[in-house]
Each structure stands twice: as C-alpha cells, then as structure tokens.
Amino acid sequence: MARQPIDQFVEGISAEKRASVYLGTKVTHEKRDKLLHDHYADPDALRRLAGEIKQHVVENLDTYLPKVEAKLQSNGVKVHWASTAEEACAAVHGIMKARGATKLVKAKTMVSEEIGLADYLEHRGIEALETDLGEFIVQIDHDHPSHIVRPIIHKSRKEIATSFEREGLGAYNDDPETITRRARAFLRKKFLQADVGLTGANFVSVESGRLVIVTNEGNSRFSLAATKCHIALVGIEKLVPRDRDLGLFLNLLARSATAQQLTVYTEFISGPKAAAQPDGPEEMHVIFVDNRRTEVLASECREILRCIRCGACLNVCPVYRQVSGHAYRSVYPGPVGAVLSPLLEGDKFADKADLPKASSLCGACNEVCPVNIPIPDLLLRLRNKGKREHAPLAEAGSPPMGAWALMASSPAAWKTALVAGKLMNVLPKTWIPIPAMKAWTDTRTLPEWRGGEFRKWLRQRPRKADGTKGSPQSHTP
C-alpha cells in the first residue's frame, strides 16, 4: 500500500524545526483566543456575521464585480481582468513595459505567489524585490513561504544570519534586531530606486472602490511612497459590500492573524495621486485575478472563497503543527490550503488529492475561522471527489471500504465477524497481512477483542422482578 507523501514528509523534519513551528503557532493561537474573548462578549457571533457577509459576496460576485470596476474607474484606477496566472503576470509585465519600467518593489501578497509573478518577471529582466522581511528572506534563499502570514516560520535566526552573510548584507550576526536593521538599510535604497510598487489588497469596498492593505512593517506604504505607479493584484473574492463592513473585518483579521487589535499599518487607497496631493503614484492599476476562482465558485466548496488569509486555521491545526507548510506542496498550506490548493489545480486535482486526507477532521480550524468556513465539511467533500475520480493519492494508505460496507449492511455477517474476530487475540499481530493493521500496531497496541460479549450479556442477564421495566428488549425490525 502506497504511503501518504505528507506523512513521509514529517519524518524528514528536524526536531528543532518542528519545535519552532509548534511553539510559534501555539503561542499565536492562544493569544488570539484570549484577545478575542477579552474584547468581545461573543466572538463566535462576529465570526458568523463575517462569514455571512463574505458568503453573500461570493454568491453575488457577478453583480459586485462590475459595480466595483465602475467605482474604481471613476476613482481614476485602471482595471484589468486576468482569468489565468499567465494573464495576470502578463498584465503586470505589460504595464511595466509600457512605462519602460525595470524595477518593482513588492509588498506581501499571496496571490503573487500563487501566479508565480517574481519568477515570471525575473525571466524577463525585471527586478521584482520582496519588501516584507519574511518574504525577502524567502526570496534570497530561493525558498517558498511555509505559512500564509509568517512565511519563514520554518527558519531559525541562525539560518537567516547565514543567508544575510552569503548575500553580502554584513558579517554573521544572528541578533534579530541587527538582521532587521540590515534588511531595512538594504530595502530603503531599493524603495527609492523602484519604478513600480506592487501590492495585494486585503479588502476592496464595492461601495467606495477603496483598497484596504494591512501590514506590520509599513513596507506597502514605502512601496507606494517613491514609485510613480501602483499595481494591485486582487483575487476576485476580496470584495466587501460597504466601507462599514471593514470595521468587522479589520478587527477580526488582525486578531485572528497576529493576535493584534489592529495591524500596525492599515492603508485605505482610493485611487492614484490627486492633483492637490504632493506625492504618491500618479498611475494606479487593479488586476482582478480569477485563476480558477470561478471554478471554485461552481464547485461544492465555494465557502472556501470567504477566506481572508489570516492563517488562524494553520496555527490551531494539529497536523500543520507537526508537518509545517512545505509538506503541502502548495502556496496555500494548512487546513485552508488542503481545500483551496487541490481546487486551484483544476483538471490536475489528482496531483493534490492527498491534501484533504491530511486531517483528523478535528474541526479546530472551523472554530477559529474568522469567516466561519466549514473546513472539515469541505475536506470531506474533496475526499469524496478524490474517491469518485479514483485519484491514487486520495486512496494511498487508506484501507478499502467495500467489504466493510457489505458486512456492515448485513447483520448476520456482522455478528459472525464479531465472533470470528476473536482470532485476533490468538495470532501474533505482526503476522496479519494487512498494511493498515501494521500502520496501527507500529506505534499502538490493539485492545483485546470482545466481539459479541455485550450482546451475550444482554441476552443472558437476569430479568428484573417486574419482568419488563428496566430490562433491555432485543428486537429485529
């Protein structure tokens, strides 16, 4: 029986890395929980409300998207539509070519990871520099983020200090403050030299066309301070209907993502620089990225499009804590990634059909989700999809259920098996040629088989004095 790749992956993770991922996620989760309950009498009511608003948006994208396009255009923003990753990258490249631009500074955006923008631009001679500290470290190491919010949760400061030394950013020094100061000094120059600033958007208000961008490092503001052109890459699901909805979402996002009341920088961008404003980008583009989101919308898992990328489900997930992000072979790891990543593969769903299996279905992700996505239900739907489509990765390591179902629908066979199962206590367990059994007994013992004993007790125990009351009655329908 083939093994599950994610379960194999975990064997290769060092104890040090595992401990740092565990501690990092645990601490953030616990702070988040405390903050939400300290500040709100009923945080779950807020999560449900936010979920309903986003579900409403997701189900009405066909009307909200034209509305927000018109609003953005009236604000002086140029709107582009990219149905694929390639089109989105080409749109960014096209804007830069038209301006003769060669240098781009980039704030953290998951959708740019999703479409592979940095590689696309580099191959075309454009410098696309990550300015979020974590993403910058990922970039100089030619690595990939392992967490939605904390891209270098898998790295130690010693590794980072070594990378900085290699890149000529100073002699080895693993003091976090020194590392940060060196990155800052390097990036400041790059901000000033850049032609274009690229950001994502955490939310876009349909009502006002405002883009909302949150960061803790201010790098998004820096990216837009000196450049003349702002490009925002925005997944089509990022809309909220009204400005007033932002009060709810910003409060939930900061607490859920980083256990803060509010992220350090929250920008509201209504368009390019107005004539009266002294500086800022004079040109602004919003590229709405579909990249299979409409396919997700048409699927049985559309609720996943509510996601606001806070990472709370990663932090609480006992599986993510053990395996960390790279195990998921995807831009989006953890519980949200186990749903979203296979769906974003489209007709290559089978390549990631194992991701929805990498869960004990414990439901902790749903409990912390600020938009109340029923992640376990969606994982189950995708497991069923994997089974229906005979995806080998979905079936790897899973015992077949056909014979069990037959037996469990036939009382006579079931009762026979209960008695026959007693053999398990006689045979040495390692002789049983069932891989599933070995997978169990490698690390756990099996309880003693007592098949049929309860039924026997029911039949044989003495009846009470009154003959009926309090006595179990067996019946066969």
Binding site: C362, A396, P399, W440, Q473
Partner: protein, 255 residues
C-alpha cells in the same frame, strides 16, 4: 445544537446504538450505558441488526459505501424512539455527517429524521432528561478528553457537569485540552506518523496533570491514546463516561 431535535418520550423508552467499537472491543462501556440509562428509568431496546453508523467510509471519502451502511442504520433504528449512542463521534455522524452525504439523495428526509432522534449519552442525560448532577461516589482525579466531534454540541459541558458533580471525583484541567488526540479514524493508519505524534503530545499534556483515569465520551479516542501509551511502555487507565457514572452508582449502592 439543532433546535429541531426530538425530545425524549414520557415513557422513557429509548433505543441503544452500541457502536461498532463497543460491539467489538468495549463490551463494558456498552453495558455501562445500559445500566446508566436503566437507572434513569429508561427502557432500553437494542435492535439486534445494528452494525455501524457509517462513519469510517464517510471520512474515507467512499460515500457510496457509507450511504449503504447508513441506510441499513435507518432501517434498523426505524420508529420514533430516541436513539442513544455512547459516542460523540457516532452522534455527530448521524446528526451532521449523514446530512452532508445525503444532500442530493432522495431519502435525505428519513436520514435526517434519524439524526433528530439521535443523542450522545451525556447530552441525553443532562439536556434530554434534565439530570444535572450525578449521585453515588467515585474516588479519583479525572482527566476529561474533549473528543473533537463534540465541538459545537452540548456534550462536553454536559459530561463535565455530571463528572464534576460526583462525590469524591474531581476533574483535573490539562494543557491544550481543545487539541485532537490524533485518532481521526482511517487517518490513524494512513498518516501513522502524524497521528502518533499528535497522540504522544496529547499524552504528555494529560500526564502532566497526574490523573487517576482518562475519561472521554468516545472509546475511539481512548483506544488511540491507551494504545499509544501501552506501546510506549507507560500504560494509562481509561474509562468511558458511562463507566464512571455506572461505577459511581455501584459505589453508592444505587445499582
């Protein structure tokens, strides 16, 4: 919890779904369930044709196989009696999981009807029968594992209320009690390394509170944790909530 669930009948007749695990391994937990229900004045019917709730295949993604088993359960537990099950996980399967896998099936209505009648044992005692405290005596420090499929249900507060009300018993808190034990059904064999690591961490937290017994409403979680502990050479004592309640009655000469 769904507000449309069916309350117990005045005559306190109920059906018992013993669960496949108790049928195969944990006869005494099923027996304790019967004894506890009878102590509460219930008449317990045991449909002989019962097998399993269908969850293994449901979680495995094989919904055709699962629906076959659920349809058998619907037939076996036909009628209007409450169905009591000593497992939060099987209860969640029948109240929630089946609704998901029967969404587009013609017999969704019958499946939901069974779901509305299904109660996890502790939830039934406290919220169905209105019994908030438990008599008798049970000496021991209890570590109570909140099995994950009880999230969002009334089971955990119900079980905790009953356990902590027993004379002589105390419920010992332990770290990260909202985290999974790593069982997850077929997850435990298809992801054995991750599953075992999760369980080992869980056991460390539990041991740190030095309990006399580890208690849960689900034998499946207990099977996993006890199996891990024994294999590691550090066995722990486990009991189903029903066994604790039954033992309290015995110790108080109420049974």
């Amino acid at each position: 919890m769904a507000s449309d669930r069916q309350l117990p009948r005045a005559d306190r007749r109920v059906m018992l779904m013993a669960t496949c695990l108790c049928d195969a391994f944990y006869a005494d937990a099923a027996r304790a369930t019967v004894e506890v229900l009878e102590h509460l004045g219930c008449t317990v019917e045991f449909p002989e044709g019962q097998t399993c709730c269908g969850q293994p295949a449901f979680n495995g993604g094989d919904w055709d196989a699962s629906r076959q088993v659920v349809r058998h359960a619907v037939k076996t537990f036909a009628g209007d009696l409450p169905v009591i099950v000593p497992s939060g996980s099987c209860a969640a399967m029948l109240t929630h999981g089946t609704a998901l896998e029967f969404e587009k099936e013609a017999d969704l209505g019958e499946v939901r009807q069974l779901g509305r009648r299904t109660w996890e044992l502790a939830d039934f005692i406290v919220n169905g029968l209105g019994v908030k405290t438990w008599p008798g005596r049970y000496e021991g420090r209890i570590a109570f594992h909140r099995s994950c499929h009880c999230r969002g249900s009334e089971t955990v507060p119900a079980a905790l209320a009953l356990l902590s009300s027993i004379a002589g018993a105390s419920v010992a808190p332990f770290g990260e009690s909202d985290q999974c034990c790593g069982f997850g059904g077929t997850f435990s064999v298809s992801f054995p390394h991750i599953s075992s690591a999760m369980g080992t961490l869980k056991l460390e937290h539990i041991r740190a509170s030095a309990p006399d017994v580890l208690v849960s409403v689900d034998m499946s979680c207990l099977m996993h944790m006890a199996g891990l502990a024994e294999k590691a050479g550090q066995p722990i004592r486990t009991q189903h909530v029903a066994q604790v309640l039954r033992d309290a009655l015995r110790n108080g000469n109420l049974l």
